[in-house]
C-alpha cells in the first residue's frame, strides 16, 4: 500500500497526527500515514538515512545533521509549519518568583551549575534558601536543544542533574508535586494544566512577558518562542505522489489544524510562501545549520525570496 512515513519531534507530533488523521480520512484510507515519536534528533537521523519521507522538527536542522544528509545524498525541503512557545513554570505554591530573566535561567541551567547551584537563593539572594528542583525534557528532544541554545547559548549545553523525561506530562506532574520545582515545556502542556502550574513571565530584555498566542506570533515573547518545521525528502516529494499530496494537504489546512493541536499558526502569508517553496522543490535550510533565535519566520521566508 501507499505509506507516508513520518518521524521526529514529540512536540510537533500532535500537529502531524492531526494532519495524518484528516488526510487519511480525506483519502478514505487509500493512503496510510505513520507518525513516529523519536524526537527531533532521532527523526533527523532516520531522515538522513532515507528511512522516512518526512521528518518533523522543533528546531532547524543542525550542522551535523546537514552533513549526515549530504553524505547519504539526501536532499530535503524545509517547511515551517507553526509556532511554539516554551513555557517556564513553577509550582503554584511558589510565591517568590514573579519573573525570570534569561540570565537567571542561564545561571540555573548552564553546565557549570551542576552540583553547585542547588538553592533558590543562589539565583537571587532575596529568594528563600529552598532546594531548587529542575525539570526538563530529555536530551534527545528538540525542546531541550532549543532551550539550551536560547538560554545557555549552545545547543545541548546543560547541567545534567535535573529530572528529565521524554514525556512532558511527567514533567507537569513533577512540578505539580514539588513546591520548589521549576520546569520548562511546550506551551500546550501548560495550557492544559493551567490551574495546577504557575506560568513565569520571561524578561528577554524588554521587561517580563507572558507567552501567549499574541506574544509568540508577534515575536515579543523572545527568545523562548520558536518555529516548528517539517523536512520533506525531495526524492519522496518527486517520486511519491502520496507524499506530495500529503504536504499540500498539510499546508492548506495548517491554520486550523495547528490551532486544534494547541499550537500557534503562522501568518497566512507564511503558508503561501512555504507552499511556493515546496512547489519549487527548494532544498536546503534557511538557517544554514544554526538557529536564528528570535527572528520571525515570515521575515526569513521573505528575505530568502528576495535574495533569489
Amino acid at each position: 500500500g501507499k505509506i507516508v512515513e513520518i518521524d521526529g519531534s514529540s512536540t510537533v507530533y500532535p500537529i502531524l497526527e492531526a494532519v495524518a488523521e484528516e488526510f487519511q480520512k480525506a483519502k478514505k484510507g487509500a493512503i496510510k500515514v505513520t507518525v513516529g515519536i523519536s524526537g527531533t534528533g532521532g527523526g533527523f537521523k532516520k531522515f538522513c538515512r532515507g528511512e522516512i519521507d518526512i521528518s518533523n522538527a522543533s528546531r532547524p536542522i543542525s550542522k551535523k545533521e546537514i552533513d549526515a544528509c549530504k553524505e547519504r545524498k539526501i536532499e530535503y525541503i524545509e517547511l515551517p509549519v507553526a509556532y511554539d512557545g516554551l513555557a517556564v513554570v513553577v509550582n503554584p505554591k511558589n510565591t517568590w518568583v514573579t519573573s525570570l530573566t534569561i540570565a537567571d535561567l542561564k545561571k540555573m541551567w548552564e553546565p557549570a551549575a551542576a552540583g553547585t547551584i542547588k538553592t533558590w537563593n543562589q539565583i537571587r539572594p532575596e529568594w528563600p534558601n529552598a532546594p531548587l528542583k529542575l525539570f526538563g525534557p530529555g536530551a534527545d528532544s528538540g525542546t531541550f536543544d532549543y532551550f539550551t541554545e536560547a538560554v545557555v547559548g549552545k545547543a545541548k549545553s546543560s547541567r545534567g542533574d535535573f529530572t528529565a523525561s521524554e514525556d512532558d506530562n511527567v514533567l507537569v506532574q513533577g512540578v505539580i508535586q514539588d513546591k520548589n520545582a521549576l520546569g520548562y515545556m511546550g506551551l500546550a502542556y501548560y495550557e492544559e494544566n493551567k490551574g495546577k502550574l504557575k506560568l513565569v513571565p520571561i524578561d528577554g530584555g524588554k521587561g517580563p512577558i507572558f507567552p501567549s498566542e499574541k506574544t509568540v506570533m508577534d515575536g515579543t515573547y523572545s527568545p523562548l518562542s520558536r518555529p516548528l518545521f517539517i523536512y520533506v525528502n525531495k526524492d519522496s516529494a518527486v517520486k511519491k505522489p502520496e507524499v506530495k499530496e500529503f504536504v499540500e494537504f498539510f499546508l492548506k489546512n495548517a491554520p486550523i489544524l495547528t490551532k486544534q493541536a494547541k499550537y500557534i499558526p503562522l501568518p497566512k502569508t507564511a503558508y503561501q510562501l512555504a507552499q511556493e517553496r515546496f512547489t519549487k522543490l527548494k532544498t536546503g535550510s534557511m538557517f544554514i545549520g544554526e538557529e536564528k533565535i528570535g527572528m520571525k519566520i515570515e521575515d526569513l521566508l521573505k528575505l530568502e525570496q528576495k535574495s533569489k
Binding site: 534527545d140 545541548k156 529530572t163 521524554e166 506532574q173
Partner: protein
C-alpha cells in the same frame, strides 16, 4: 528397523536444535552487547566508566560514569526487596502451611496477577497515586523518587518470591512435617523451626529471582523515578536506573552507530551481568532443593 532409527535420530536432532536455540539467543545477546559496547569502551575508558560519578552522555560535555545509574538501580531494587521479601515470604508460609487447600488454589493464581499487570499501568499508579499519598507523610519526598516505584516493584514481584518459596516449602516432604506435628508442635513452630530451614535454599533462590526481577524492571522506574542520574542513597530523591536510561534513549531513538547509541548497550551489558550473577546463583540453589528430596 533402519528407517525407524533414522526417523528417531532426525527427530532427536531437530529437538536438539530447538533446545540449543536458547544458547543461540544468549550468544546473540552476548555478541550484540559486547560488540556495541566494545565500540563504546574504545572511546570511553573502562576505568572512567566504572568509577565516574556523573552520567550525562547526551549533553554537550558528556560524562560517562555508570555509578549514578547503578546507585539508582540498587536504590529502587533495595526498596522493592524490603517490600517483597518479607511480604512474599510471609505469604508463602501462610499459603503453604496455613491456608486451606481450596483457598490456596484460588489465591495463588490471583496473586500471580500482580506480576501480570502491565508495567505501564504500575508506573502511572506509582506516580499519580502512590507518590502523592506518600508525600502526605514524608514532606521531603520529591515528586519523582526511588521510594514509590520501589514499593510498587516490590508489590509486583511478590508473586515471584512467594510462589517459588512456597514451592520450596511444599517440596519438604510431608513425613518431615508429620514428624514435627507428632511432637506436639504448632504450625508456627513447625514452619519456623523445620520447614524454613529445610527449604532454605529454595527460599534463597526465590529471593534471587525477586532481585533479578527488581533490577530488570523498566517502565515503572522510567515513569516514576525521575530519569535523573543521581549518585545518591537517599530514596526520597529522583534517580535513574540502568533500565530507565535505556528506555529514555530508546524513546529518542538514537541513531545506529553513534556513541549515544552505544551507551545503551554499555548500560545493557552492566544490567545483563548484574542479573546474570543473581540468576546463576538462584539456579544452583533451586537445583539443590530438587536433588535434596
Amino acid at each position: 528397523m533402519n528407517t525407524k532409527k533414522i526417523k528417531e535420530r532426525s527427530i532427536e536432532s531437530l529437538l536438539f536444535v530447538c533446545a540449543a536455540s536458547s544458547i543461540f539467543v544468549t550468544l546473540s545477546i552476548v555478541i550484540i552487547l559486547s560488540f556495541e559496547s566494545y565500540g563504546f569502551f574504545k572511546e570511553v575508558p573502562l576505568f572512567e566508566f566504572l568509577t565516574g560519578t556523573e552520567w550525562t552522555p547526551l549533553f554537550e560535555n558528556p560524562k560517562f560514569g555508570i555509578l549514578p545509574l547503578i546507585a539508582g538501580t540498587l536504590l529502587t531494587t533495595c526498596t522493592a526487596l524490603m517490600v517483597a521479601l518479607p511480604l512474599g515470604l510471609l505469604a508463602a508460609i501462610y499459603l503453604s502451611e496455613y491456608a486451606p487447600h481450596k483457598l490456596r488454589e484460588t489465591i495463588k493464581p490471583v496473586l500471580e496477577l500482580l506480576a501480570a499487570v502491565p508495567t505501564v499501568v504500575y508506573g502511572y499508579f506509582a506516580l499519580l497515586f502512590l507518590t502523592p499519598i506518600l508525600q502526605e507523610f514524608i514532606i521531603e519526598l520529591s515528586g519523582f523518587n526511588a521510594l514509590s516505584p520501589g514499593i510498587i516493584i516490590g508489590v509486583m514481584i511478590i508473586p515471584y518470591v512467594s510462589s517459588v518459596s512456597e514451592d520450596a516449602m511444599r517440596a519438604v516432604p510431608m513425613h518431615i512435617r508429620e514428624g514435627s506435628y507428632a511432637m506436639g508442635a504448632t504450625k508456627l513452630q513447625t514452619s519456623l523451626k523445620v520447614i524454613i530451614p529445610a527449604a532454605f535454599s529454595g527460599i534463597a533462590a526465590a529471593f534471587l529471582i525477586g532481585i533479578s526481577r527488581a533490577v530488570g524492571e523498566t517502565m515503572v522506574v522510567a515513569i516514576a523515578a525521575g530519569m535523573m542520574p543521581n549518585f545518591t542513597i537517599n530514596p526520597f530523591e529522583p534517580v535513574q536506573t540502568l533500565t530507565a536510561y535505556i528506555v529514555q534513549v530508546s524513546l529518542g531513538d538514537v541513531p545506529h552507530g553513534s556513541l549515544e547509541y552505544k551507551t545503551i548497550f554499555a548500560a545493557g551489558v552492566t544490567l545483563f551481568l548484574m542479573t546474570l550473577i543473581f540468576n546463576i546463583i538462584g539456579f544452583w540453589l533451586r537445583k539443590r532443593i530438587r536433588e535434596a528430596y
